[in-house]
Symmetry: C2
DNA sequence: CCACCCGCATACCGTGGGTATCCGGATACC
DNA sequence: GGTATCCGGATACCCACGGTATGCGGGTGG
């Protein structure tokens, strides 16, 4: 209680930091990395640029923080969707809903790609950190694939790590293309997954439809 | 001859434009869209910023010009590689060499992706133009797939347009991921193509290896 | 209670896209 | 051939934005 009446410095700063992250998240996701200025973030959060720089070393650091946060949520969401209970079709439908929400939303895909490109050209350290984010995705997808294959009792058409990488690449590419060309169907990713499952699952002698 | 001794204005401007495009191409491919400044381009080409703005309305227009140019060459190159003569394996090897050169080179993939993202957020007109570039890729790949399927006398595992789209997405995603994480194998794209060919080609009763 | 510390605000700098204006030589008309 | 005009390119400038230096005021430790 005393802490609320007169917040300690650490609490006060933590609150500032949280507000900045929350605001930055909204703006970065809405407008992208370059179009979002630190001044806009600071003002929207009710602070000045100084507050940002006393909580984050650079714009890159703030954005990376936001991205790590959001990616964690996304990975969690896709794991929940695909690893939950239900029939194969139910879970595939849940995954499709997730894909529609995530890949269909330009904000997230564009931000992660934009920042990755930015980092790739900046300094190797930032690039490495972004690369580890990609590996986090691959790891999650790999786990997903292995569990799914085991649950269905079938062999994957290629080693799980490579297949996870291919899936991630496909998702990134589709997200980008869809952001540029909204007419593009979001069904492509689920279709591809269905095809791959079909490959592994198809009884001998059955050709492609 | 008279034209060389004293170039007409149109000739002079055409030369300026060509030099600017050539220089811009080098810098955009090397450093990316945001890191390349018009002043650097102008200076490297031996002109001033004014020359750029009297030949191109905006930085976006210059970059779009460069991208259209390079994409045309890339599409041509991949068509030549895959539609040329030779055995199936020879042509697949030629394609792999192309993929290694193109997707392995961060410059091109990063530039096209960076500009696409930039355009997607800017104005719809620019976004549409970038989208048409994407459709050009899809069209070329579709033609390629159909010809290859016909040559081998087998059915594609999914409709050609969708498959072309998937392939393009895969290429984009792999290119981006590889730019961020150079340790990533460039074999993934050819592997995926082999897998898909394998799916359509596999004799009945043969499971995945 | 007081001196110090530090989170945030303010003022400022360098850079880069874009604009306004100017200059000089090619062009058009007589 | 002379001269008025036009226009490609140069120069000077504006503003936005990332980043830095410094100042202020209130929490903190003695």
């Amino acid at each position: 209680m005393a802490a609320m009446a007169r917040p300690t410095r650490a609490e006060s700063q933590a609150r500032t930091r949280a507000l900045l992250i929350e605001t930055a998240r909204r703006l970065f996701l809405r407008d992208g990395y370059h179009a979002t200025t630190l001044e806009k973030v600071a003002e929207a959060a009710g602070y000045s640029k100084g507050a940002v720089y006393s909580n984050f070393g650079t714009k890159d650091e703030l954005c990376q923080t936001v991205i790590d946060l959001v990616r964690g949520e996304q990975v969690q969401a896709v794991m929940d969707a695909f690893l939950g209970e239900g029939t194969d079709e139910t879970r595939l439908a849940a995954f499709e809903a997730w894909a529609e929400r995530t890949i269909g939303d330009p904000g997230w895909t564009l931000l992660e790609a934009e920042f990755a490109i930015h980092a790739a050209r900046r300094d190797p350290a930032l690039r490495d950190r972004v690369a580890s984010g990609g590996r986090a995705w691959v790891g999650a997808l790999q786990l997903l694939l292995e569990k799914e294959a085991h649950r269905r009792g079938l062999a994957l058409p290629m080693p799980a790590p490579e297949m996870a990488g291919a899936l991630l690449s496909l998702g990134i590419g589709l997200g980008l293309r869809r952001a540029v060309d909204p007419a593009l169907s979001p069904e492509a990713l689920p279709d591809m997954i269905r095809l791959l499952l079909d490959v592994a699952t198809r009884p001998p002698g059955t050709g492609p439809s």
